[in-house]
C-alpha cells in the first residue's frame, strides 16, 4: 500500500502522467517482420553499455605516452579490468553490427519515407559518428595491432582528394601516428564525439517517438482493420527488456570466453605485422581502396575509390529525396534495387578485405 502511495506521489510530483500518456500513444505494428524493430533498441542498449564501461575505463586509462602501460594494467592487474575492457570492446562491435542491421531493416521497410526523413538523416549521422567512435577508440591501447591498423586506416581519409591529407594530419597530430595522435583520439572519443552524439541521439529517439515505427509496404497495403499493433509502453518495452537481457548475456559470454587481448607495445620503427587490416566495419572501404588501386595505381586510384565511396554514401543518405511517397512507383523499386546492390557490394567487399 505504501508503495502505491509512493508511486502516486512520484507521478504527481514529477508530472509523469504526461510522459506515460505520451508513451502510451505510440503503438508498434505487429506482423511477421516485427523482429526487426528490436534492432534500434539493441543499438541503443549496446551504446549505453559502452557509456557505462567507458566511464569505468576512464578511471584508469592515461592517454599519451603511458597509454599502453595503463591498458596493460587495466587488462592484467586491476581487478575486473579485463572484464570492463572486454565488455567495452565487444559491445562496441555489437553496437556497430546492430546499427548496420537496424539501418538496412529501416531501408527495406521503407521507413525513411515521409514523415520519417529526419529519423533517417539523423540515423546516418549517428552511424558515421559511431564509426568514428570505433576508429578513435581502436587506437587507444597503442599496441602493435591498433597502431598499425590505425596507420592503415588513416589511408582512407588521406585518400579524399584535396582535403584528405590535411584532415589526416590534423587527426594524427602530424605526419605519423604517435602519442599525440592518442591524445587527440582520446579527446575525440570521450568529449567531442559524445557531445555531438548525445543531442543527435535525442533527436533520433524523439523522431521515433513522434512518428512511431513504420510498417513495411506489404503491411501498409492491408486494410487498417486487419493490421495488428501492440502498445509501445508497457508491452513492447517488456519485450525490448527481454531482448536486452539476451544481448547482455551474449556480450558477457563473448567477454568471458574471448577476452580482449593486448598485443605487444607499438613500435613505430618495426615492420608492420603480416596481414594487417582495419576492423571489420572499415573493411569494405579498405578493400575498395585496394581493388581500385590495382586498376588505377597511385594517388589517382585512391582518389577514385574515395570519390566513389563518398558518392555512394551521399546517394545512400539522400534516398528519402528520391523515394518520398507511400506509393509503390517505379522509382521506389529502383531505390530498392539500389539498396540491395549496396548491401551486396558491402558484404562482398568486406569479405574480400579479409582474403585479399
Amino acid at each position: 500500500m505504501k508503495l502505491e502511495t509512493l508511486k502516486a506521489d512520484l507521478v504527481e510530483r514529477l508530472g509523469l502522467e504526461e510522459a506515460i500518456k505520451l508513451a502510451g500513444k505510440k503503438t508498434v505494428p505487429v506482423h511477421k517482420h516485427t523482429f526487426w524493430y528490436f534492432w534500434g533498441g539493441i543499438s541503443l542498449f549496446s551504446f549505453l553499455i559502452q557509456v557505462v564501461t567507458g566511464i569505468l575505463l576512464m578511471v584508469y586509462y592515461r592517454p599519451g605516452p603511458e597509454a599502453y602501460e595503463s591498458v596493460r594494467q587495466i587488462t592484467y592487474q586491476i581487478q575486473f579490468g579485463w572484464l570492463i575492457r572486454s565488455v567495452h570492446n565487444w559491445s562496441a562491435n555489437f553496437f556497430l553490427f546492430s546499427v548496420f542491421v537496424h539501418m538496412f531493416s529501416v531501408f527495406l521497410m521503407k521507413a525513411y519515407r515521409r514523415p520519417r526523413e529526419v529519423g533517417w538523416y539523423s540515423g546516418i549521422a549517428l552511424l558515421l559518428l559511431g564509426l568514428t567512435f570505433g576508429f578513435s577508440g581502436y587506437l587507444l591501447p597503442m599496441d602493435e595491432l591498433s597502431f598499425f591498423a590505425t596507420k592503415v586506416g588513416m589511408e582512407i581519409p588521406n585518400a579524399i582528394p584535396i582535403i584528405g591529407p590535411p584532415i589526416a594530419n590534423l587527426l594524427r597530430g602530424g605526419l605519423e601516428v604517435n602519442e599525440f595522435t592518442v591524445q587527440r583520439f582520446f579527446a575525440l572519443h570521450v568529449v567531442i564525439l559524445p557531445l555531438l552524439y548525445m543531442p543527435l541521439l535525442g533527436l533520433h529517439l524523439w523522431m521515433v517517438q513522434k512518428h512511431g515505427n513504420a510498417a513495411p509496404p506489404s503491411e501498409e497495403a492491408k486494410e487498417p482493420s486487419q493490421r495488428k499493433t501492440m502498445p509501445f509502453f508497457p508491452n513492447f518495452v517488456a519485450q525490448d527488456l527481454g531482448v536486452w537481457l539476451i544481448v547482455l548475456n551474449l556480450i558477457s559470454l563473448l567477454a568471458a570466453l574471448f577476452p580482449w587481448q593486448l598485443g605487444p607495445q607499438a613500435d613505430p620503427l618495426a615492420a608492420a605485422p603480416e596481414g594487417i587490416h582495419p576492423e571489420w566495419y572499415f573493411m569494405s572501404q579498405f578493400a575498395m581502396l585496394k581493388l581500385i588501386g590495382r586498376v588505377i595505381p597511385g594517388l589517382a586510384g585512391e582518389a577514385a575509390a574515395m570519390t566513389l565511396f563518398t558518392l555512394g554514401l551521399v546517394l545512400w543518405a539522400m534516398i528519402p529525396v528520391f523515394d518520398k511517397d507511400k506509393t509503390n512507383t517505379k522509382r521506389s523499386r529502383q531505390v530498392l534495387y539500389f539498396g540491395i546492390f549496396v548491401i551486396l557490394v558491402l558484404l562482398s567487399t568486406t569479405f574480400m578485405g579479409f582474403v585479399i
Partner: protein, 459 residues
C-alpha cells in the same frame, strides 16, 4: 589400446559426441519434463473444468510425440554410435559395469515410447481417467530412464572409492550400487530434473506461441503464464544444485573450480570457470527473458520468442555439459581411465613394454614418422586434431625439435607440479616411441605433413 582410432578431421571426435549429445539432451530432457507436464496439465484440465485447454494440449502432445519419439530416439542411438567410435575403451568399461542398468533403461524406454504413442492417439478415444493414467505411466517411465542414465553419467565424474578399489580386478560389477549411487549422483539428478522442468515450460511456450486462432487467445494467455511458472524451480534452486554439486565433487575438481573463482578478478581464471559462468548467466537470462516475453504479457508471446528461449536453453545446456567434461579432465572416468583411453594402472606397462606393441590395430613395423603418427592418433587425437579444433599445428606454434622434446618429456614425467597435469593425461611409451612422436610433431609444427599419409604408407 584395443580398438582402431576414428580420425575425424576438423571438429575432432569429441565434438561429434558433443554435437549429437547436446541435440539429444535438449530433446531427452523435454521428454522427461514434458512427460510430467502433459499429465499434470491434463489433470488440471479435468479437476478445474478447463475444457478449453483440450485442443491446445492435443497440439502440444503431437509435437511431443514427434520430437521425443523420432528425434530423441534417433539421436540417442546416435550417441551410442559416436561414443563407441570415439571412446571405445571407455564405452566398453561402462557396458561391463552397467549392462544390467542399461538393460533396465531400455525396458523403461520401450514403455515410454509405447505410452507416448498411446497417449497421443487415444485422446477422446478411451475414458479420461485411463488416458490420464497412460500419461502418468509415461511420466514415470521416462523419469526412470533419467534416474538410470544419471547413475552412469555421474559415475564417470565420481566413480566412488569402493568401485575404484576393485577396478581392474575383474570384479567391478560387484560394486554396481556404489558406482551407480556415486557421490555426485543425487546433485546431478537434482540439477537434471530442474532442467527437465524448465525445458517442459519452454517447449510448451513454443506450441502456444504457434497458436494463432483468435478463439483460443484467452486460453493461450492462461496457458502461457502457467507454463512460464515451470521455470521457477530452476530459477530459485540453481544455487542449491550448484552448491550441492560442488561439495560432492572430487577434491581435485573442487580445487580447479575454487582456483578459477578466486582468480576471476585478475582475468586469469580457468576455462571451466568461464564455462560454468556461462551456465549460471544464461540460466538467469532464460528466467528473465521468460518473465519479459511470456509472464508479463502472455498475449504478445510469439513462436520466435519461444525459439529464442530454446536457443538460450541450448547455450545453458551445452555449457553445463562442456563444464562437466572439462572438470573431469584429464580423465574420461575419474581416477581410472585417462581421456585418451589409457587406464591409470596401465601407464607403467606401456612405459616399459611400449604403447604401440600393445595397440592391436597398428602395423608391427613402421618408419619413425608413421610410428609417431600412430602415437599421435592413439594418445593425442581423443582431444586434439591436426589443424582443426584444438589444432596441434597451432598449439605447437612452430616449436623446434628441442622444444617439442622438452614438452613431451614434461608430459611423460607427469610431475605433481606440471602445469599440464590438471587437464592432460601423461604421455606413455618407450623413449623410441616418444622420439617418433616428436619427429611427427615437428613435421606437423612446420606444416610439412600430409594427414595420415605416413601411416597409410606403412600399412
Amino acid at each position: 589400446m584395443n580398438y582402431p582410432v576414428w580420425d575425424v578431421p576438423g571438429v575432432g571426435g569429441p565434438w561429434v559426441i558433443g554435437i549429437i549429445s547436446i541435440f539429444h539432451v535438449l530433446i531427452a530432457w523435454f521428454a522427461v519434463g514434458g512427460g510430467i507436464y502433459l499429465p499434470y496439465a491434463e489433470r488440471k484440465l479435468y479437476r478445474e473444468g478447463r475444457e478449453e485447454w483440450l485442443p491446445v494440449l492435443k497440439k502440444h502432445s503431437r509435437m511431443f510425440l514427434v520430437l521425443t519419439g523420432v528425434f530423441g530416439a534417433v539421436s540417442g542411438v546416435g550417441i551410442w554410435f559416436a561414443i563407441g567410435l570415439v571412446q571405445p575403451e571407455a564405452t566398453s568399461t561402462l557396458i561391463h559395469n552397467f549392462v544390467f542398468g542399461w538393460a533396465i533403461e531400455w525396458v523403461f524406454f520401450v514403455i515410454e515410447l509405447a505410452a507416448a504413442a498411446v497417449y497421443y492417439y487415444t485422446w477422446d478415444r478411451i475414458p479420461r481417467e485411463l488416458h490420464l493414467k497412460v500419461g502418468w505411466l509415461y511420466a514415470i517411465s521416462s523419469f526412470l530412464t533419467l534416474v538410470i542414465i544419471n547413475g552412469i553419467l555421474s559415475f564417470m565424474m565420481t566413480p566412488s572409492q569402493a568401485w575404484l578399489n576393485v577396478a581392474g580386478t575383474g570384479t567391478e560389477a560387484s560394486q554396481f550400487w556404489a558406482a551407480f549411487f556415486n557421490p555426485t549422483y543425487f546433485p546431478s539428478l537434482f540439477m537434471r530434473t530442474l532442467a527437465c522442468l524448465s525445458l517442459a515450460g519452454i517447449y510448451a511456450l513454443i506450441t502456444y506461441g504457434r497458436v494463432t486462432d483468435e478463439a483460443l487467445q484467452a486460453t493461450r494467455t492462461v496457458m502461457v503464464r502457467w507454463s512460464a511458472k515451470w521455470l521457477i524451480p530452476m530459477a530459485l534452486l540453481l544455487p542449491v544444485g550448484l552448491g550441492w554439486m560442488y561439495v560432492t565433487m572430487e577434491p581435485e575438481s573442487r580445487e580447479i573450480m575454487s582456483l578459477g573463482f578466486s582468480t576471476i578478478g585478475s582475468g586469469l581464471f580457468t576455462q571451466v570457470t568461464r564455462i560454468s559462468m556461462m551456465t549460471v548467466l544464461t540460466t538467469v537470462t532464460v528466467a528473465g527473458a521468460v518473465y519479459f516475453f511470456a509472464f508479463l504479457f502472455p498475449r504478445d508471446l510469439t513462436a520466435g520468442h519461444a525459439f529464442a528461449l530454446l536457443g538460450l536453453a541450448a547455450i545453458a545446456t551445452s555449457s553445463t555439459e562442456y563444464a562437466r567434461e572439462t572438470i573431469r579432465k584429464p580423465y574420461v572416468i575419474q581416477e581410472h581411465m585417462y581421456s585418451n583411453s589409457i587406464r591409470m594402472n596401465e601407464v607403467e606397462k606401456y612405459n616399459t613394454e611400449g604403447y604401440l606393441v600393445n595397440s592391436k590395430w597398428n602395423p608391427p613395423q613402421m618408419e619413425p614418422v608413421a610410428k609417431g603418427e600412430a602415437m599421435f592418433r592413439g594418445q593425442c587425437m581423443s582431444c586434439h586434431t591436426r589443424s582443426g579444433y584444438r589444432s596441434m599445428e597451432r598449439l605447437l606454434q612452430k616449436r623446434d625439435r628441442k622444444a617439442i622434446d622438452q614438452l613431451l618429456q614434461t608430459l611423460h614425467d607427469f610431475e605433481p607440479d606440471s602445469p599440464y597435469r590438471k587437464y592432460m593425461p601423461p604421455l606413455v611409451g618407450t623413449q623410441d616411441e616418444r622420439d617418433s612422436l616428436a619427429v611427427y610433431l615437428e613435421k606437423l609444427s612446420l606444416g610439412k605433413t600430409e594427414p595420415a599419409l605416413a601411416l597409410n604408407a606403412a600399412r
